[in-house]
Protein backbone atom coordinates (compact mmCIF):
# COMPACT_ATOMS: atom_id res chain seq x y z
CA UNK A 1 0.00 0.00 0.00
CA UNK A 2 2.67 2.40 1.01
CA UNK A 3 4.68 1.35 -2.00
CA UNK A 4 1.70 2.12 -4.18
CA UNK A 5 1.35 5.51 -2.63
CA UNK A 6 4.98 6.31 -3.18
CA UNK A 7 4.77 5.23 -6.78
CA UNK A 8 1.67 7.39 -7.25
CA UNK A 9 3.40 10.32 -5.70
CA UNK A 10 6.39 9.88 -7.94
CA UNK A 11 4.16 9.58 -10.96
CA UNK A 12 2.19 12.59 -9.89
CA UNK A 13 5.36 14.59 -9.26
CA UNK A 14 6.84 13.58 -12.59
CA UNK A 15 3.67 14.40 -14.44
CA UNK A 16 3.41 17.75 -12.73
CA UNK A 17 6.99 18.70 -13.48
CA UNK A 18 6.66 17.48 -17.03
CA UNK A 19 3.54 19.54 -17.55
CA UNK A 20 5.09 22.62 -16.07
CA UNK A 21 8.15 22.29 -18.23
CA UNK A 22 6.01 21.62 -21.26
CA UNK A 23 3.70 24.51 -20.48
CA UNK A 24 6.55 26.89 -19.78
CA UNK A 25 8.25 25.81 -22.94
CA UNK A 26 5.06 26.28 -24.94
CA UNK A 27 4.38 29.70 -23.48
CA UNK A 28 7.93 30.92 -23.98
CA UNK A 29 8.09 29.42 -27.42
CA UNK A 30 4.83 31.03 -28.47
CA UNK A 31 5.91 34.38 -27.08
CA UNK A 32 9.02 34.35 -29.23
CA UNK A 33 6.92 33.36 -32.23
CA UNK A 34 4.50 36.19 -31.53
CA UNK A 35 7.34 38.69 -31.18
CA UNK A 36 8.79 37.57 -34.50
CA UNK A 37 5.34 37.84 -36.02
CA UNK A 38 4.85 41.38 -34.69
CA UNK A 39 8.01 42.58 -36.38
CA UNK A 40 11.08 41.28 -38.10
CA UNK A 41 12.92 44.59 -37.80
CA UNK A 42 15.81 45.09 -35.44
CA UNK A 43 14.86 48.50 -34.12
CA UNK A 44 17.48 48.72 -31.43
CA UNK A 45 20.22 48.82 -34.05
CA UNK A 46 21.79 52.21 -33.95
CA UNK A 47 23.06 54.21 -36.88
CA UNK A 48 25.77 52.55 -38.88
CA UNK A 49 26.85 55.90 -40.28
CA UNK A 50 28.26 57.33 -37.10
CA UNK A 51 31.18 59.72 -37.44
CA UNK A 52 33.54 56.85 -36.77
CA UNK A 53 34.33 57.15 -40.47
CA UNK A 54 36.53 60.06 -39.50
CA UNK A 55 39.22 57.63 -38.52
CA UNK A 56 39.52 56.14 -41.98
CA UNK A 57 42.43 58.19 -43.22
CA UNK A 58 43.55 57.75 -46.81
CA UNK A 59 45.61 59.63 -49.33
CA UNK A 60 43.70 62.12 -51.44
CA UNK A 61 41.14 64.65 -50.43
CA UNK A 62 39.33 64.93 -47.21
CA UNK A 63 35.64 65.31 -46.95
CA UNK A 64 33.41 65.52 -43.96
CA UNK A 65 29.81 66.06 -44.84
CA UNK A 66 26.92 66.86 -42.69
CA UNK A 67 24.30 69.53 -42.93
CA UNK A 68 21.59 71.12 -40.91
CA UNK A 69 21.12 72.17 -37.38
CA UNK A 70 19.99 69.57 -34.96
CA UNK A 71 16.56 69.51 -33.55
CA UNK A 72 15.16 67.50 -30.75
CA UNK A 73 11.43 67.31 -30.40
CA UNK A 74 9.93 66.26 -27.13
CA UNK A 75 6.35 65.38 -26.63
CA UNK A 76 5.34 65.62 -23.02
CA UNK A 77 8.82 64.79 -21.78
CA UNK A 78 11.61 66.78 -20.21
CA UNK A 79 13.77 68.89 -22.47
CA UNK A 80 17.30 67.94 -23.25
CA UNK A 81 20.01 69.40 -25.45
CA UNK A 82 22.73 67.81 -27.52
CA UNK A 83 24.50 69.15 -30.60
CA UNK A 84 24.38 68.09 -34.20
CA UNK A 85 27.27 69.08 -36.39
CA UNK A 86 27.02 71.01 -39.59
CA UNK A 87 30.34 71.00 -41.33
CA UNK A 88 31.78 70.62 -44.76
CA UNK A 89 35.42 70.79 -45.62
CA UNK A 90 36.98 69.83 -48.90
CA UNK A 91 40.25 69.61 -50.58
CA UNK A 92 43.20 70.29 -48.37
CA UNK A 93 43.96 67.26 -46.29
CA UNK A 94 44.80 63.64 -46.79
CA UNK A 95 42.16 61.80 -44.89
CA UNK A 96 38.99 60.62 -46.53
CA UNK A 97 35.74 59.37 -45.22
CA UNK A 98 35.47 56.99 -48.11
CA UNK A 99 32.47 56.75 -50.37
CA UNK A 100 29.22 58.27 -49.29
CA UNK A 101 30.57 59.73 -46.11
CA UNK A 102 27.20 61.00 -45.06
CA UNK A 103 27.59 61.52 -41.40
CA UNK A 104 24.74 62.17 -39.13
Amino acid sequence: MSQHLIRDNINSWNTSIFNNVLNNYTVADEKSEILAWLSTLEPQRRHTSEPGGLTRWETGYYKLRNTGIGLVVFVRVTLMVQPYFATEVRGSARPSLGEGGDIR
Binding site: T55, N66, G68, V75, F85, T87
Partner: protein, 197 residues
Protein backbone atom coordinates in the same frame (compact mmCIF):
# COMPACT_ATOMS: atom_id res chain seq x y z
CA UNK B 1 24.63 62.94 -34.56
CA UNK B 2 20.99 62.67 -33.60
CA UNK B 3 21.80 59.06 -32.84
CA UNK B 4 23.98 60.29 -30.00
CA UNK B 5 21.09 62.35 -28.63
CA UNK B 6 18.69 59.46 -28.92
CA UNK B 7 21.09 56.98 -27.43
CA UNK B 8 21.66 59.23 -24.46
CA UNK B 9 17.94 59.73 -23.91
CA UNK B 10 17.08 56.08 -24.46
CA UNK B 11 19.83 54.84 -22.17
CA UNK B 12 18.67 57.23 -19.47
CA UNK B 13 15.05 56.24 -19.90
CA UNK B 14 15.92 52.54 -19.81
CA UNK B 15 17.81 52.98 -16.55
CA UNK B 16 14.90 54.86 -14.99
CA UNK B 17 12.33 52.46 -16.40
CA UNK B 18 13.76 49.49 -14.55
CA UNK B 19 12.43 50.57 -11.19
CA UNK B 20 9.28 52.24 -12.43
CA UNK B 21 7.47 49.56 -14.38
CA UNK B 22 7.77 51.65 -17.52
CA UNK B 23 8.35 50.50 -21.07
CA UNK B 24 10.91 52.04 -23.41
CA UNK B 25 10.80 51.29 -27.10
CA UNK B 26 13.02 52.86 -29.71
CA UNK B 27 13.44 53.00 -33.44
CA UNK B 28 16.46 54.29 -35.31
CA UNK B 29 15.74 55.31 -38.87
CA UNK B 30 18.37 54.24 -41.32
CA UNK B 31 18.48 55.94 -44.69
CA UNK B 32 20.07 52.83 -46.15
CA UNK B 33 17.07 50.71 -45.30
CA UNK B 34 14.07 52.90 -46.02
CA UNK B 35 12.00 50.41 -47.95
CA UNK B 36 11.42 48.32 -44.87
CA UNK B 37 10.65 51.29 -42.68
CA UNK B 38 6.97 51.86 -43.26
CA UNK B 39 4.79 53.20 -40.43
CA UNK B 40 3.36 49.71 -39.96
CA UNK B 41 6.83 48.20 -39.71
CA UNK B 42 8.08 50.93 -37.37
CA UNK B 43 5.17 50.79 -34.95
CA UNK B 44 5.10 47.01 -35.24
CA UNK B 45 8.65 47.06 -34.07
CA UNK B 46 7.76 49.41 -31.22
CA UNK B 47 4.90 47.13 -30.21
CA UNK B 48 7.22 44.14 -30.31
CA UNK B 49 9.56 45.82 -27.85
CA UNK B 50 6.75 46.79 -25.51
CA UNK B 51 5.31 43.27 -25.58
CA UNK B 52 8.74 41.72 -25.10
CA UNK B 53 9.00 43.50 -21.77
CA UNK B 54 5.77 42.04 -20.46
CA UNK B 55 5.56 38.81 -18.49
CA UNK B 56 2.63 37.69 -20.58
CA UNK B 57 1.59 38.58 -24.08
CA UNK B 58 -1.78 40.36 -24.00
CA UNK B 59 -4.62 38.02 -24.85
CA UNK B 60 -5.83 40.10 -27.77
CA UNK B 61 -2.42 39.80 -29.44
CA UNK B 62 -2.20 36.07 -28.73
CA UNK B 63 -5.64 35.57 -30.28
CA UNK B 64 -4.77 37.65 -33.32
CA UNK B 65 -1.54 35.70 -33.74
CA UNK B 66 -3.22 32.31 -33.45
CA UNK B 67 -5.99 33.24 -35.85
CA UNK B 68 -3.81 34.77 -38.51
CA UNK B 69 -0.74 32.62 -38.20
CA UNK B 70 -2.63 29.40 -38.75
CA UNK B 71 -5.63 30.44 -40.77
CA UNK B 72 -4.38 33.16 -43.04
CA UNK B 73 -0.77 32.12 -43.20
CA UNK B 74 0.95 34.66 -41.03
CA UNK B 75 -0.76 37.89 -42.00
CA UNK B 76 0.52 40.61 -39.72
CA UNK B 77 -1.31 43.29 -37.79
CA UNK B 78 -2.42 46.35 -39.69
CA UNK B 79 -1.37 49.84 -38.69
CA UNK B 80 -4.69 50.68 -37.01
CA UNK B 81 -4.52 47.49 -34.97
CA UNK B 82 -0.96 48.17 -33.90
CA UNK B 83 -1.89 51.69 -32.87
CA UNK B 84 -4.80 50.32 -30.84
CA UNK B 85 -2.55 47.79 -29.11
CA UNK B 86 -0.04 50.50 -28.25
CA UNK B 87 -2.81 52.73 -26.93
CA UNK B 88 -4.10 49.96 -24.71
CA UNK B 89 -0.68 48.95 -23.43
CA UNK B 90 0.43 52.50 -22.74
CA UNK B 91 -2.80 53.25 -20.90
CA UNK B 92 -1.89 50.83 -18.15
CA UNK B 93 1.84 51.44 -18.09
CA UNK B 94 4.10 54.42 -18.82
CA UNK B 95 5.48 53.86 -22.29
CA UNK B 96 8.22 55.89 -23.91
CA UNK B 97 8.42 55.67 -27.68
CA UNK B 98 11.67 57.07 -29.04
CA UNK B 99 12.19 57.61 -32.75
CA UNK B 100 15.54 58.79 -34.01
CA UNK B 101 16.21 60.69 -37.24
CA UNK B 102 12.61 61.16 -38.25
CA UNK B 103 13.79 63.37 -41.12
CA UNK B 104 15.10 60.22 -42.80
CA UNK B 105 11.61 58.81 -42.99
CA UNK B 106 10.11 59.40 -46.46
CA UNK B 107 7.51 62.22 -46.30
CA UNK B 108 4.53 60.02 -47.14
CA UNK B 109 5.44 57.58 -44.40
CA UNK B 110 6.21 60.39 -42.00
CA UNK B 111 2.71 61.84 -42.24
CA UNK B 112 1.15 58.48 -41.44
CA UNK B 113 3.59 57.85 -38.66
CA UNK B 114 3.00 61.23 -37.02
CA UNK B 115 -0.75 60.81 -37.26
CA UNK B 116 -0.47 57.39 -35.64
CA UNK B 117 1.70 58.78 -32.86
CA UNK B 118 -0.79 61.57 -32.34
CA UNK B 119 -3.57 59.05 -32.07
CA UNK B 120 -1.63 57.13 -29.42
CA UNK B 121 -1.00 60.33 -27.47
CA UNK B 122 -4.63 61.36 -27.64
CA UNK B 123 -5.94 58.06 -26.39
CA UNK B 124 -3.38 57.09 -23.82
CA UNK B 125 -2.36 58.96 -20.73
CA UNK B 126 0.79 56.89 -20.26
CA UNK B 127 2.34 57.46 -23.68
CA UNK B 128 5.37 59.70 -24.05
CA UNK B 129 7.11 60.29 -27.36
CA UNK B 130 10.62 61.48 -28.07
CA UNK B 131 11.62 62.37 -31.61
CA UNK B 132 14.81 63.69 -33.16
CA UNK B 133 15.22 65.14 -36.61
CA UNK B 134 16.55 67.97 -38.71
CA UNK B 135 14.85 71.40 -38.61
CA UNK B 136 12.92 71.12 -41.86
CA UNK B 137 10.46 68.67 -40.31
CA UNK B 138 9.58 70.90 -37.38
CA UNK B 139 6.50 72.45 -39.01
CA UNK B 140 5.28 69.05 -40.02
CA UNK B 141 5.63 67.74 -36.48
CA UNK B 142 3.83 70.70 -34.98
CA UNK B 143 1.08 70.38 -37.55
CA UNK B 144 0.47 66.71 -36.90
CA UNK B 145 1.00 66.66 -33.17
CA UNK B 146 -1.15 69.73 -32.76
CA UNK B 147 0.51 71.60 -29.95
CA UNK B 148 1.55 68.54 -27.98
CA UNK B 149 5.22 68.82 -28.85
CA UNK B 150 7.82 70.75 -26.92
CA UNK B 151 10.77 71.41 -29.19
CA UNK B 152 14.36 72.35 -28.64
CA UNK B 153 16.79 73.40 -31.35
CA UNK B 154 20.34 72.30 -30.74
CA UNK B 155 23.58 73.37 -32.38
CA UNK B 156 27.21 72.88 -31.52
CA UNK B 157 29.52 75.62 -30.39
CA UNK B 158 32.98 75.83 -31.88
CA UNK B 159 34.31 74.40 -28.63
CA UNK B 160 31.98 71.40 -28.90
CA UNK B 161 33.27 70.64 -32.37
CA UNK B 162 36.89 70.87 -31.32
CA UNK B 163 36.24 68.50 -28.40
CA UNK B 164 34.46 66.12 -30.76
CA UNK B 165 37.25 66.22 -33.35
CA UNK B 166 39.95 65.68 -30.73
CA UNK B 167 38.05 62.67 -29.39
CA UNK B 168 37.68 61.22 -32.87
CA UNK B 169 41.31 61.82 -33.76
CA UNK B 170 42.30 60.05 -30.58
CA UNK B 171 40.33 57.00 -31.71
CA UNK B 172 42.14 56.89 -35.06
CA UNK B 173 42.94 53.28 -35.87
CA UNK B 174 45.61 54.24 -38.41
CA UNK B 175 47.62 56.86 -36.56
CA UNK B 176 50.58 56.57 -38.97
CA UNK B 177 48.58 58.41 -41.61
CA UNK B 178 48.27 61.38 -39.28
CA UNK B 179 50.84 63.94 -38.26
CA UNK B 180 50.79 67.05 -36.08
CA UNK B 181 50.46 69.41 -39.02
CA UNK B 182 47.44 67.61 -40.46
CA UNK B 183 45.85 67.29 -37.06
CA UNK B 184 46.29 71.01 -36.47
CA UNK B 185 44.81 71.78 -39.86
CA UNK B 186 41.75 69.64 -39.15
CA UNK B 187 41.22 71.12 -35.71
CA UNK B 188 41.49 74.63 -37.10
CA UNK B 189 39.68 74.37 -40.39
CA UNK B 190 36.55 72.36 -39.59
CA UNK B 191 35.26 74.53 -36.73
CA UNK B 192 35.75 77.59 -38.94
CA UNK B 193 33.16 76.27 -41.38
CA UNK B 194 30.52 75.93 -38.71
CA UNK B 195 28.56 78.94 -37.65
CA UNK B 196 28.05 79.22 -33.96
CA UNK B 197 24.58 79.99 -32.68
Amino acid sequence: MSCGVSSLVIDTLCKQAVGENAAVACFYFDFADLEEQSPTAILGSVLKQVVAGLNEVPEAIVKAFRNREKVIGGQRLELAEIVECLQNLSSSRSTFICIDALDECPPAHRVKLLDSLNQILQNSSGARIFLTGRPHILDEIERHLAGKAATRSITPTKGDIIIFLRAKLKEDTIPDAMDKRLEKEIIESIPETVSEV
